[in-house]
């Protein structure tokens, strides 16, 4: 291999990184949307909304990056997955339209604020659920023939995919609650602190249920998790989950502002690592590998400098824009 690296593998990591970035960043702003109906109208809802208003659009760009990157680096997988999971993907896109426009509309039209608040929270919940269902259905495996999807258009629906959908809604809500603990104060912070406790319990239970079910979906998943000697490596994932969970509850108990959010992020990171363990080396389970789905070498090589140079720059200015809006929402102007 030129450059001494395996380009398909490198891009699989890039896509995984984009998905992680998307899940943790849009995860907390979707989570705020999921919690929205449980916040009192007025000051609390408004400052919850404002804590994410300047950043949500950058967060969603990672979803475009995941989609665009898949098309570019793994065109075969992109076509297969999206046509196989047609219904949940379309539902997610429509839900994102609703919640995206609600950000501006609720301020522009106070008389219909209630309507746009419903659009915002319903959109957030449906988008989160649809993303979970998509993930669950992908883990179940996608029927493929002749480079195209060969299943029916309701294959994605199963108890397992619904379980993952519900889990993701719960997990995003945890991210949202811990984000608001970090970004708010007063009654909103206290309320979110209580939510965070319950949601943390829910998320851990959901993660355990999904993790317990996954090895039974396909024999290959069982082998990837439990075969000797890689079990030494894969066992680190649940072990770290236990440690992170411990710190999460400890920090919630001590009413820390930042640690719960960071721990919730770590849980999502570990969840994705677990997903990687189950899937690797497939990109479309059960049959298509990363290398089979990869775009030709010249396509990947063309993108390599772009990724190596631009992704760090993007991370830098994304960090800058978070830094500009740092601190508690609503009180920053006083320093």
């Amino acid at each position: 291999m030129p450059f001494g690296i395996d380009l398909p593998m490198f891009f699989a990591f890039i896509i995984a990184f984009a998905i992680l970035a998307y899940v943790v960043m849009d995860g907390f702003d979707l989570g705020v949307g999921i919690l929205f109906p449980f916040l009192p109208v007025g000051r609390e809802r408004d400052s919850a909304m404002n804590s994410i208003a300047p950043v949500w659009d950058g967060n969603e760009t990672w979803l475009v990056m995941g989609g665009g990157g898949m098309l570019a680096a793994f065109p075969l997988a992109y076509g297969m997955i999206l046509s196989a999971l047609y219904a949940p993907i379309i539902a997610m896109l429509l839900a994102l339209v609703f919640r995206g426009v609600a950000f501006e509309f609720r301020w522009r039209d106070p008389r219909h604020r209630a309507l746009w608040d419903v659009a915002f929270s319903t959109g957030s919940i449906v988008a989160a659920f649809a993303q979970g269902v998509t993930l669950g259905a992908l883990l179940q495996g996608v029927a493929v023939q002749n480079r195209t999807y060969a299943g029916g258009w309701f294959d994605w629906l199963s108890p397992f995919s619904v379980l993952v959908g519900v889990s993701l809604v719960c997990g995003y809500a945890l991210l949202g609650a811990t984000w608001l603990v970090m970004k708010s104060e007063g009654s909103l912070q206290e309320r979110c602190h209580r939510f965070a406790f319950r949601l943390a319990v829910g998320t851990i239970v959901a993660m355990a249920a999904v993790s317990a079910a996954t090895p039974f979906l396909r024999e290959a998943y069982w082998a990837r998790w439990f075969a000797w000697p890689q079990v030494l490596f894969t066992a680190q994932v649940p072990l770290l989950v236990v440690i992170v969970t411990g710190i999460l509850f400890w920090s919630l108990k001590r009413a820390h502002h930042y640690t719960p959010f960071l721990m919730a992020l770590a849980l999502f990171g570990l969840g994705l690592a677990g997903l990687g363990v189950s899937l690797y080396p497939n990109i479309v389970p059960p049959s298509v590998t990363i290398w089979e789905a990869a775009a030709p070498h010249d396509s990947l090589k063309f993108m390599l400098p772009g990724v190596l140079v631009l992704v760090p720059i993007i991370l830098a200015y994304t960090g800058y824009s978070y830094w500009v809006f740092r601190g508690k929402t609503g009180h920053e102007g006083y320093h």
Partner: protein
């Protein structure tokens, strides 16, 4: 209810619907981002507060339009896979990386600095804020660059090879990016976006001048918009003509459909002004023609021969009537824009720019003309590429996902309902913002909201607005 439809036709309809709706927003926000950068620069340079007022006035509108562009754009980036999975597999290796560069160079830049541009005026210095505005404006241009390169490659594919799996694989990236129709399409589209924005700004200015001649903000925006139209409209007509000649060279069948030339004309082809192309009969009904004028335009000679659709297998024909008419709508709009530009020059020469109601009414009526022209132009070029997705190489029927008609039909219906509801409301809010006259001490997008320097939450204000029955 969709069983009797053809799934590929429904998928095309869905793509046409979602992309047309989507493109309305960028065609406005590309121009508006640049306009905002110019306004902020003028404010920083001259210190005149009217420029800051106008900046804030248009920034609120930009925030709405940009948000709708983002969410409708996310749909586009997934639509290739959901409905056109075979196309994605085959053409992905070539157009995918171009789109990836669009995301990396443009979308993140826009999204990353949009927050600072919208809400950061009091948090960062003037210089940094202007940098953020510039970054957003430059981002919209980068975005146009990459996506138009990808689109143009589908019209004039070059620089690729075809591998054993039937995929297009890159052979020469330079040839792919700068494919033959790309420079023309880029210039034509960017001018189109500037004109669209100028027409909207001009119409808003005109509306307020009709009500209050002395409004300084309305005067400045009207003058700037008319100046832009007077300069860009003729340039755009020239660029469009050059693009047409380029199309004649690379996609002659599209030009035959645009011109309504069913027959070949060995000694000078007529320019069909109007008529009804009857595809089945292969002729134009009720045609009004100028003899030999088409040859003059396309070949710069009265007697130059031009081939017609009769030289092409019917299986290679695009839908002639659609292409013929959408092209005429676009050209008609262009001519009206030129007229408006010239009228405004006359008014300026007579020092009646702010005091000529006929001009203001004309400018007001022309407000939506840019959108009409842009959509008509895209219909011309995209429908004119049919029956191919990658011109001459990959047929549309061979590009679609293997989906059942009811699945595509149901999602199409869902898109139509959601878009009309969500974007209909957005358009209404934009029009409402535009109906307020620009005034001194204009508020930014978030004066009534809590992310801002004062640290006051908007709840009391919202409550007050509700109590007094006041809208936003």
């Amino acid at each position: 209810m969709f069983e009797s439809f053809d799934a590929v036709f429904l998928a095309r309809l869905q793509f046409a619907f979602t992309v047309s709706f989507h493109f309305i927003f960028p065609s406005f926000s590309i121009g508006l981002a640049s306009y905002l950068a110019v306004l902020e620069a003028l404010w920083l340079w001259t210190g005149r507060s009217v420029y800051l007022d106008l900046f804030k006035y248009w920034l609120k509108i930009f925030a709405l339009a940009f948000g709708m562009g983002v969410v409708s754009g996310i749909v586009m980036s997934y639509q290739f896979g959901t409905n056109w999975s075979v196309f994605s597999d085959k053409a992905g290796p070539v157009i995918g990386p171009l789109m990836a560069y669009e995301v990396l160079t443009a979308f993140f830049l826009e999204a990353g600095f949009l927050g600072v541009m919208l809400f950061g005026m009091n948090r960062v210095g003037k210089g940094l804020h202007f940098t953020a505005t510039l970054a957003v404006a430059v981002g919209t241009f980068f975005s146009a660059f990459w996506i138009l390169s990808a689109n143009s490659w589908m019209h004039t594919p070059t620089g690729h090879a075809i591998n054993a799996g039937g995929q297009f694989v890159p052979a020469d990236w330079w040839a792919i990016i700068f494919n033959p129709s790309f420079p023309y399409r880029l210039v034509h589209t960017v001018f189109g976006a500037y004109l669209t924005t100028a027409l909207v700004v001009g119409a808003v200015g005109a509306w307020h001048l009709l009500r209050e001649k002395g409004n300084e903000g309305a005067r400045v925006m009207f003058s700037m918009a008319m100046g832009m139209i007077a300069v860009v409209a003729p340039l755009q007509i020239f660029a469009g003509d050059q693009h047409g000649l380029n199309t004649l060279e690379h996609q002659p069948v599209k030009v035959m459909a645009m011109e309504g030339h069913f027959k070949s004309y060995p000694d000078g082809a007529p320019l069909v002004l109007f008529g009804w192309p009857d595809e089945a009969a292969g002729k134009n009904l009720f045609a009004v023609e100028i003899p030999k004028a088409s040859s003059l335009i396309l070949k710069h000679s009265w007697d130059a021969p031009l081939k017609g659709l009769d030289t092409v297998d019917r299986k290679e024909w695009p839908p002639v009537a659609v292409v013929f008419w959408s092209f005429r709508i676009m050209v008609g709009m262009g001519m009206l824009m030129l007229t408006l530009g010239l009228f405004s020059l006359l008014a300026r020469a007579r020092k009646r720019l702010y005091d000529w109601p006929l001009l203001h009414r004309f400018a007001l009526a022309m407000g939506p003309a840019g959108f009409v022209a842009v959509i008509a132009g895209w219909v011309t070029t995209e429908v004119g590429r049919q029956p191919y997705t990658v011109y001459g190489l990959l047929r549309t029927v061979d590009s679609a996902s293997a989906l059942d008609a009811p699945a595509v039909g149901a999602s199409l219906l869902a898109f139509v309902v959601v878009y009309f509801f969500a974007f209909g409301a957005g358009t209404y809010y934009i029009l409402k913002l535009m109906s307020h006259p620009p005034h001194r001490g204009e508020e930014g997008p978030r004066r009534d909201q809590p992310v801002r320097a004062a640290g006051i939450t908007p709840a009391p204000q919202v409550a007050e607005n509700i109590a007094t029955g006041k809208g936003a």
